[in-house]
Amino acid sequence: MEKGEKKRRLNVLEKINPFISSSVGDPGAKSYPHVESINKRSYDGLCRLIRQKALNPDLSAAGLVTGEVGEGKTHLLGRILEFCRLEHNAYAFAYIQPIEDPEQPYRYLLREMTTNLCRPIHTQSRVTFMEKLSAKIFANCLDSILSDSALPDRKKIRETLKKDPLVLFTELKLQQSKMLVQVEAVAPTMLRDSMLRLPEHFISVLLKCRHRHTFQAAMRWLKGNLVDADDQKLLGITCPFNLSLQASEQHARDLIEAFGEIMAFFGESAVICFDRLENLDDPQQVRALGKMVEFLVDSVKAVVPVACFRETAWEDRFKIQLNQHVVTRLETNRFYLQGCEPEQALELVTSRLKTLFGDDELFPFEKSKLLETFKAGGVQSPRRFITLANEMLNNILGMTPNTVSVADQIKAEYSRQLENVIADINRLEPDRNRLRRAMLLYIESLPPSAPYRIREIKSLFQKDKYTDFMCRIVFPSKRSINAVFIIDTEDHHSSVSASLKRGIDFFKKFPDGRVFYIRDARCPFPDSSKWPETNKIRRQFESAGGKLLFFDRHQAAAWYALALLSYSIKEGDIMITDSYSSARPAKWDEFLAVIGEIIHTKGHQAFENFDDAMVDKNFTTDQSDMSPNDREILDRSVELLKASGGMMMLTGDRLIENLNKIGFQVNKDQVLSVLSFYQDRFEIITTKDDVIVLLKKDWLYAQC
């Protein structure tokens, strides 16, 4: 290679380091090329299993993938997703994040399945698997009505659909064809004659996904949500407005079975992948996973569930907690991730460099030196080799050792996660359980500088389906109030009204309490013309003191990103670097510290709005209940800061030193816990070794 070319490549590598990322957050995200020989046996085995299931939809089969951190579980799922897309039949692929609410496994499964089926099969065309199913229904039923039809374009339509059913969704003329309206009318009866187990409205609602004006309502019904009178009118169906938990779970089971039935009928099949299962903390959640897997294997046609576990966790924990039926079903087709040999690791490095330079050169590495380093560690995880290559590249480029703090690295991971969520938020359905997880994470790890404290958190959602959790908010005056959080993603007005009524009832019991009604704004809250009664209750709720928090897409994304990052951290998927020589998974405690110290202190709009709602200015400025000692600390701190010079700021240590000098024997935590409640007058900035306390000038001027 010429000298100039070498220099050019080094310049490119300084800007774009192909080894900087060693984990796959999402199997659907664009990633580096696969090295076929790594985990080939597992990949081939899974492909065989999927093909076999497609040929025989009644086959009871599941797959289990086990491997340790960094051995490529999620990467393997990415390859399976690619296989599903590239294979002639284009199998459907669903990626299921860990379940949060173990009470509703089938509703959760249905919702995630439907959402995944509505994602484009290929990135080039925007056609979804759901549309493919509808197109097949049309193509199938068309023949039977053609003889009765006198429409002139029938021959053309028949030929076109026979050739490629998906043109139904890409050619406007076809979409508007009267003949298709006729098919829509007869298809439900025709197909239910062939598939007796199909629920009454399933086919007709599925076909309604074709029209823009009925799409949303159809999706709500297909996800097992309650649909209101307007939606029912649009869809031309009648169904109950309210269902018990058991009934809605049964309804979800029926719909999942119907998807399996219809896929089997049209020779389609789907792979459902359960990943990040390390996050199932509660045995109930593990049992819920078991229920979903058992149901998919035993009762749903044309669907293969695949579960990925960390190997030691599977052996030590999950295998013991899961029902033996589930264990045997999963272990029948078990695939062990085999690690990566140094020679394969060379391929891995070459393939990543190729994405930048388009050839098979290993430059800037020397093959012998790279291989020697790799061989010293023997067979290792692909992630470990990528980390080694990254370290070696940094040495070659003469980059200084990593000085980015652990907290900043996790914060950067959070930002990346947030970007991904914002870029494709529709992939994440409004999810009450995930919002609850994120909120609990947030309030449980508040930093000392937060303007309130949270105590005595109690989960309520297992006892009452409308409320999520209760806690006590402690204000600076040491006065505390009861608060209840209601997170709602339901679309039906009766359910929304019931949630708001819970809030009103809470105020009857605790008049000085606080109620937060939280809603992902993607779940609409129509005005009085559509929901008169619900809006009346909403006004009652607000006048009783209830706080409404409607998260817009960006705010919701911030919360979902927090929950998703927590999954990755728990799974050991987020690698951080202490120095060049030690890359390791981020620890849970480090993550909690990040939520508290960085996200909260620096502020994201979603979290700041949340804090604003939590803090009641009447309470925060009320000093009447304050202890004399705290009041003295507050007043003396103001005096000391005023006397400190023009900037009116002191480091935490210096402030304590000065307080000690004037006779206050207090420590830093004590002082900060008092000052942090008065955000109107102090700004507390966390630095590497200490904090800086600033007296706000605008507050000072307001006192004059």
């Binding site: 340790e68 951190v69 051995e71 052996e315 690690g339 023997g378 050991g572 020589s581 030690s582 849970w588």
Partner: protein, 254 residues
Amino acid sequence: MDKSIVEVINQAVVKALRKEKNGYLNIKSLITGFPAELKKTLDFKQNIRAKDFTAKEALMRIGPHLDQTVLVYSKGNSIYLSLDSKDSMILRKLEQLKSFPTFKMLRKNVAPLLKDDFTQALNGLLLSGKVKCTFKGDNPILSLSEQISIQPSEPVDLIKDGPVNPDFETVDDPEFFQAALNSIGQGRRMVYIYMVRHHLNWSRERFDKLIRKLRAEYRIQLHGGDPSVMTEDQVRDSFMDERGVLHISVSWRG
């Protein structure tokens, strides 16, 4: 559960089993022989007698404190604990018995094994050539094969008790290591490194040197894991490589 209590009880059980000539102990005898404070920890009275509790009750109380090196054998109403696999138990007994036993005699001497398990394990040993069967008059008798009996002690025994000098490396170390993985793993591919270390009871230097050797020969693979669910001692007894990376479990590649 307090991790230190778990370790203390587990260590007490392992120590008692190592001392035991037969290599196994009836769980009730084990409990009654415990020092008073361990009994108290397990919620047993200080002067408890074997007839005061059932073997199942004892297992319910002690089970959560035991790691995977301790194996549980259940036979009728009795429960036995041992560090030996079924094969090791038979080999140990064959080595101990002064005369060559018949099938029935040997089975009688390996009390914890059910008849079917005993037969299955013995068939495996006969097929592998570790045990041979000859006739004395009309009776078939069993003995250790020469290959095994000429050695000062059979590999599985070495693993169990550890060599006389834990610093003394032998050419058979890889075999001992593999046998330890099989014995602890009980069908699992990945085994915790700290368990293998405890099981072999070698010097740290000897163990780590062998790990590095086997790793460089691609005969084993080291894996990461979650140290936060382990005790400090378990983390310390895992394996830290020369780059400061902690490896928690190991699998045999052959």
